[in-house]
Amino acid sequence: MAAPVPPGAPRPGSNTPQAPPPNYVPNIRGTPDGLADNMQNLNLYRPPMTSNPVSRPPPFGQPPPFASSAPSQGIPGPSPSFARPGPPPGATVRPAGPPSGPPVSTLPPNLGPGRPTGPPPGQPPAFGMRPAAPHSSFSSSLGGAPAAPLSGVPPPGGSPPARPLGPPPPPTLGARPSASLSPSPSPFTSPPMSAPPPVPQTGVPSNLMSNGPPAFSGGTLPGPPRFPPVGGSMPQPPLGPPTMRTPPGPVAQPQPPYPMASQGIMQPPTSPFAAPSWQMQSQQQVAPPPPVPGPSQVPPRMYSMSPPLPNQSMTTTISPAVGQTGAPLVGPSKIDPNQIPRPSPGSSVILHETRQGNQATIPPPATSDYIVRDTGNCSPRYMRCTINQIPFTADLLGTSGMQLAVIVQPLALPHPSEEPIQVVDFGESGPVRCSRCKAYINPFMKFVDQGRRFICNLCGFSDETPRDYHCNLGPDGRRRDADERAELCRGTVEFVATKEFMVREPMPAVYFFLIDVSMNAVQTGATAAACSAINQVISDLPEGPRTLVGVATFDSTIHFYNLKRALQQPLMLIVPDVHDVYTPLQTDVIVPLSECRQHLELLLESIPTMFQNNRTSESAFGAAIKAAFLAMKSTGGKLLVFQSVLPSVGICALSAREAEGRTNMSAGEKEAHKLLQPADKAFKELAVEFAEYQVCVDLFVTTQTYVDIASISVIPRTTGGQVYYYYPFSALSDPAKLFNDLRWNITRPQGFEAVMRVRCSQGIQVQEYYGNFCKRIPTDVDLPGIDCDKTFMVTLKHDDKLQDGSECTFQCALLYTTVYGQRRIRVITLSLPVTSMLSNLFRAADLDTQFCCFLKQAASEIPSKPLPLVREQVTNLCINALYSYRKFCATVSSSGQLILPEALKLLPLYTLALTKSTGLRTDGKIDERSFWINYVSSLSCPLAIPLVYPRMVAIHDLDSKESEESVIPSFLPLSSEHISEEGIYLLENGYDCLIYVGEAVSPETVRRLFGVASVDEIPTLQHDNPLSKRLNEVVNEIRRQRCSYLRLKLCRKGDQSGMLFYSYMVEDKSAGGYSYVEFLIHVHRQIQNKMTS
């Protein structure tokens, strides 16, 4: 585990855990602004730190050891040096609103002064200061390109939070991590300290773990692009100080209950958005590509590791007012809603090297736009950890109140500019593996004894190097060929699987389409939509003789079609026995695409008419999938089911529990969550059988009624598939989305018959996997289907104490078959430093990942626990972490202050949003909640955030904002204060897209956007004027980013659609929960209670 450290290097921390504080530290942090916070915290504990011989081994040529610099940062003194340019975007916990006089008094002293006076929101001066410095430094180092973003963006970050309050009393703010904790792990040692670039504070995407030179390119902009600057660029005239008063409670709920929401329909079906065409797999070549990114990487380039920037100093400056950490919150009403932490936008591309100076770097936020260079650790796209340093004991982890888990997305889409994953072929012998734990060779395996042996970084076992893999070591102790061999220098590689990894020939790509043709499905147009979508995607199926297709339809019986070419017409074969199903033919039901294309097209065209007069309202869904499964059993493959009604007959028939549920609910809410559990075990048993035979089921639910998603979704979840939910299905607006979803489903990079396992270094073990898979043995998950969108959460636990200063490695191995029938093993390795310091943990916390874990855990618990309990648990998770930070890391300050760790400052906001999200609300339909739970289970980090905290942009003035480098304008906070009735807003959460048209919008704008003067009817979006074009650009860009064709819904005030829109205004007070400000106060109180108790 400590592999990177050369033998001779001093390892300070290792033997003396309690020793002085970590060497590296302060600047490290995953999130923007983090630096600043850290610095402040540092102050407290500085003394100990210094004592620590932190030195980083010179061999690496790192900047001066931290130790040296560290001292300089004296606790109090240093503050000036840290002139923090702007307040970190997020830093923000805002004290109460300025305007009101009285509140002021309540504010903590230190903050007090500055606040009220200054124009709260964007304070010009603040901005000014902040960016300037960094930019220059950056831009120089960066290519031109990045520079631009920087300049533009800074404001965002700095924006409102500008807390440039006078003399920032840094001390007040949290003591940072470094402090209390024991000696920091040596490996990272010093260099970091000294080096920190000035920039980082801002957003810092780059975060090296220890020190490193800032990896990020657009330093300031780290923020995820989607979050608009809080105050910044957005025109917020209305939001003046006046609005800032306390919680905007009342505002939020304007809508009178109206009957039906009119869904805005957007694009005509004919304009499918172009799905990004990632052809990851096809691009790969076995021959290792040049180690360095190819020419493709144009835009952002890594800047060379410039000398470490003195970032630390930067951070400090921020401090005071910023409360980077702690925003003092006192009186409930005193908080300025515009100054509380909000996601900061960041639109420029960040360059990220996964390791620098042999230290893991802190990855940029999952939601940001970044380009990764794999320098040893895997790209954070594939695997990221909730904390980028690993606590050395379970106790330490427990103390932190955070969770340790990794989020794995093994086939994640790379950025187009990234170097493709290299494929390594070891020939017949197969990849080199540890003979004990079977870990795959990776950059952290340490070769010793002249390269004759290697030590496994996961289990510590020493193995002999296979003869033909032997290579001498260089003076630095590395193999001489380490840089040429992808498996020795890349965190992610693919091995060509040998026979040993196959129980049979790699399976062909099998696609079986199963279409509901019951009366409802036909009459609502769902059948026609499905057939048409399938017909259109046939041409997107992989070419070649190994692509097999089949079609079946079902109502109360199951209809297969013999597509064999010799027949004049497809022959319909009906399986009428839905209690004991079977496949009517062994062959000919699934045939090579090349042999049946015409028949298939003909058939798909005629199915809707064939069943035009179908009067069968029953649906034998369970039997149908079982029958289709039997047809596919010999090969496995993808089963795509288009389902429209509740399965009512045959095996796995369900009853309309929802109706029963309602009556029960009135009786008592106790059992309400039972409806979110599968009705019985039948589907689960079925699903396990499917998984065993490598059948992956995707479910497209095109319905207008209750279909008991809780029960039927078990099938896709267990087989590595996915549920798509079109409710209420509209034949006008949904076919386009259905087509695009289907197309993406089929064309996205994916694999079949996969098995995944995550291995951890000794001392840590996998506790649980979460996601869509089938688990038959404890260590592996079976994935009949795996694709680039599927993400797994893997929770970890300590089973032993780790060695401080060592590294802890996580290795995810995914064995799968590509759509072209190659068997591959994708090995994703992430090696993170082990720390014994709590503050390090907070500094290295990864907000997006952590929140993603919250979300997934909450989702998995909703069906089994009463909702209030789940909400409370979520809130407590948040509170515990913050409490731990407050108690152990923050400087002692007024108890009246709420102090947030910089890295996690958005946690309260997200937590609040989560408690108000669809799945945790009681007012939603059961199916919608079930879908939400199901959607979350395989959701990736970058999509998890917008799901609960959607991004909202104003679109009525799109054309007036030309300057932005990003297509998507900056985002508005999700608060009704930011919505003007004269505006039109677009809100998207990665799945749905709502367009809210205010009541007082100028007809001209409406006409330009929608082509009609009033939006009663369904508008089209494509019109020949700049505004409309801009809107289309925006929508297309969102779709591209989300890899999802968002269904556009029109929302208008005064009806249900408007209520839907307002339900996303999570910062508002609502029937379901606190306003943001109130929530902060609540959190604060809870922490205070804990502190005192």
Binding site: Q568, M572, P584, Q586, S606, R615
Partner: protein, 764 residues
């Protein structure tokens, strides 16, 4: 003999005893049972049996129909039923009846007469043909089958309804009424589907709710016409669909491992067919025509397992009761038979395979429904092809297929009916007429004949229950037994008919009655009654020894009616009325009905089913084939069925019903090979050669199933078809070779030896 034929041509009746032993004891002593072989809808010229367009007059108590044997009081307008002696009044429209003005049913010569009721055009359902086709056969056979079916479809009556089911591993019910694409319902072969399940699974109630209660069957009981017409389509409308389905008919696609038989779910297919018809057209004339190409291996009634290592059952296995599936199968098909009988539908079986297909098990289902059965080696064989054609072809030789028959009897009080051996099923109508002892379908006085044709013949067994009474003289006044046979049926034109045959037979009792009995003895009928009975006993009685039973019967009969001096075999003689009966018995003992071990159970079942439905003349040919010789010396003449009939310069024509053999003596064969018959100077030879062919053709033309024609030469391998039937008077251990020069390699006793033994035993 001729008088018996006359009686048959008048009433379709043959009886072994035309004078009936008058008491129970007498009847028992008579050995050959009191029986009637009756051909219910035998075709008569209309002068012999007029068709009356009105309803029959029936007796108030016994429901018998007014007939020439009734005593009519013209003055009182009263008739007395000869069965129950009930006095019945004539209805008003018979008012003009008088001695000179008799209705047809009272004409003495019209002992057989037919009533027709005008059919209700709305209620009649046209005939239904449901083809059930086995696809587990080789492609070549599929090809034959396809062309045979296509031809059959063309021949179907325009208005008839057609359905199609194919099966192999699965059962495919073709929805011929669905126009857009060919559509089939696929049922799992291994699972029996009940009618209710079928109704549900085939979506018969998609458009309207299923009635909560009540029988669901047919349009009147809640099924919509549309849903019925999905599967049963008028022949005129579905020709295209049917043809396209048939043209695409393919071998069952499921792979068959080399060590296994094909998975063939015959029983499931038949069960589904029955249920489908039961649901759609209960009670109307419908035939399931099953074309089967191999043994059933799947479903509720497999006759053999899929493993080829398990051989198909033989008679030996059946005797040992070591066939695992047999009883289950028989039980299944019994059930199917009941269902079909209940619905009034017919199962026809066309078994074409070198292997057995399970006719032995299917026998009950076919026989009780009155179905046709054809056994051939291949769907390409003329036996199958021509037989199938015969069924649909309207010509002089049509089968006169009718349906929905109900057969009832009335008879005098002193007679009880024991049952029927023949293609019918009991309706379980218990009446005082029923005897306690049961033979065949018994315990009833009414039978269902789902399918019947003009040659269908039933063999009824009677029990004489009249006790010997002291006052014999009193009886003499009415020493007549009366029989009345009532046959309701639907003719192939859809018309409902009632045929009534009333018979009267004298009975005799007491000493001296022997001569009367002998005078009334019909040897042929007796032989056939014995044949049916022995077959039946072989099937139903365990440990039954048919040879012994037949021998004993023959000996008893001879000792009862022969003339001899005790212990003097040479003194034995038989009346001419009885004289050839021993010969029939000799050939019966050697026939396929008794000597089953040369045949498979399927063949035996097949032969017996045909025996049980054919009339006496045809049956006699089965038992004792006819042999005709052709030579230059004389015209065609019958020859003794003996190996001695073979001569080098003769042509023999053997008709054993199932096969027709033309046998050329060795000289003739040489000439034929030399091609003399093609030369003008040998016209006579050509004629000689052609004569047996012409005769064979005329035999074949009339017969159903179409017999197999074998043309062979002396000493050729095919000659075995002839030799097997000949009396082995010359065998390899005979001393003197016969002039014909042929011998038979057998240890069987010859007729002479048999007779010697018989005489010896009789006189003891």
């Amino acid at each position: 003999m001729a008088e018996f034929l006359d009686l048959e041509s008048q009433d379709g009746v043959r009886m072994p005893w035309n004078v009936i032993p008058g008491t129970k004891q007498e009847a028992a002593n008579a050995v050959v049972p009191v029986a009637v072989i009756y051909t219910p809808i035998k075709h008569f010229p209309s002068s012999a049996a007029p068709l009356l367009p009105y309803q029959p007059q029936r007796c108030r108590t016994c429901r018998s129909v007014l007939n020439p044997f009734c005593i009519v009081d013209f003055a009182a307008k009263i008739w007395i039923c000869p069965f129950c002696f009930q006095r019945n009044h004539f209805p008003p429209h018979y008012a003009s009846i008088s001695d000179d003005n008799l209705p047809a049913e009272l004409f003495p010569q019209y002992t057989t007469i037919e009533y027709a009721s005008t059919p209700d055009p709305t209620a009649t359902v046209p005939p239904v043909f449901l083809f059930v086709v086995d696809t587990c056969v080789i492609e070549e056979e599929i090809g034959y089958l396809r062309s045979a079916l296509l031809q059959a479809v063309e021949l179907l009556p325009e208005n008839s309804l057609v359905g199609l089911i194919t099966f192999g591993t699965f059962v495919h019910v073709h929805e011929l009424g669905f126009a857009q694409v060919p559509k089939t319902y696929v049922f799992k072969g291994s699972k029996d589907v009940s009618k209710d399940q079928l109704l549900e699974q085939m979506c018969f109630f998609a458009n309207k709710p299923k009635p909560a209660v009540g029988v669901i069957a047919g349009a009147r009981d809640g099924l919509s016409r549309e849903s019925i017409s999905r599967f049963l389509v008028p022949a005129s409308e579905c020709e295209f669909t049917l043809n396209s389905v048939l043209e695409e008919l393919q071998k069952d696609p499921w792979p068959v491992p080399a060590d296994q038989r094909a998975t063939r779910c015959t029983s499931t297919a038949l069960s589904i067919a029955a249920s489908l018809l039961g649901a759609c057209v209960p009670g109307s004339a419908a035939r399931i025509m099953a074309f089967i190409g191999g043994p059933a291996t799947e479903g509720p009634a497999p006759i053999v397992s899929k493993q080829l290592t398990e051989p198909i059952r033989s008679h030996k296995d059946l005797d040992k009761d070591s066939v695992p599936h047999y009883h289950k199968c028989v039980k299944f098909y019994d059930g199917l038979a009941k269902q079909l009988v209940h619905q009034g539908h017919v199962l026809d079986l066309f078994a074409c395979a070198l292997d057995q297909v399970g006719i032995a098990e299917l026998k009950t289902a076919v026989e009780r429904t009155g179905g046709l059965v054809v056994l051939a080696e291949s769907f390409g064989h003329s036996v199958f092809k021509d037989s199938l054609k015969r069924i649909f072809q309207a010509s002089n030789y049509d089968l006169g297929l009718s349906s929905n028959g109900i057969f009832e009897i009335n008879c005098s009080k002193d007679l009880k009916v024991q049952g029927i051996i023949g293609p019918c099923a009991t309706l379980e109508k218990k009446t005082p007429l029923c005897s306690d002892t049961v033979i065949g379908q018994g315990g009833t006085s009414a039978w269902k004949m789902c399918g019947l044709d003009k040659s269908t013949s039933l063999c009824l067994f009677f029990d004489v229950v009249r006790k010997e009474t002291p006052d014999a003289t009193v009886q003499s006044t009415s020493n007549q037994f009366y029989f009345q046979f009532l046959t309701y049926y639907q003719s192939n034109s859809g018309e409902m008919r009632l045929r009534v045959t009333t018979l009267s037979r004298r009975w005799v009792a007491g000493p001296g009655s022997s001569q009367d009995l002998i005078a009334g003895f019909d040897q042929e009928a007796a032989a056939i009654v014995m044949a049916r009975q022995v077959s039946f006993k072989m099937e139903t009685e365990a440990e039954f020894d048919p040879i012994r039973w037949l021998d004993k019967a023959l000996i008893n009969l001879c000792s009862r009616f022969g003339e001899y001096q005790k212990d003097s075999p040479t003194s034995f003689s038989l009346s001419p009325r009885l004289s050839i009966f021993p010969q029939f018995m000799f050939h019966l003992r050697r026939s396929q009905f008794v000597q089953v071990f040369n045949n498979s159970p399927d063949e035996t079942a097949y032969f017996r089913m045909i025996l049980n439905r054919e009339n006496v003349a045809n049956s006699v040919v089965m038992v004792q084939p006819s042999l005709i010789t052709y030579s230059f010396h004389s015209g065609p003449e019958p020859a003794l069925l003996d190996v001695a009939a073979i001569a080098a310069d003769r042509i023999l024509l053997l008709d054993s019903f199932f096969t027709v053999v033309i046998f050329h003596g060795s000289t003739i064969a040489q000439w034929r090979k030399a091609g003399y018959h093609n030369e003008p100077e040998h016209q006579a030879f050509a004629q000689l050669l052609r004569a047996p062919h012409d005769d064979a053709e005329s035999i074949i033309k009339e017969r159903f199933p179409v017999p197999r024609l074998v043309v062979c030469d002396q000493h050729g391998s095919q000659a075995r078809f002839l030799l097997a039937k000949l009396n082995p008077s010359a065998t390899y251990n005979s001393d003197a070779a016969l002039p014909g020069g042929d011998i038979i390699f057998t240890d069987d006793v010859s007729f002479e030896v048999f007779l010697d033994h018989l005489q010896r035993l009789v006189v003891q």
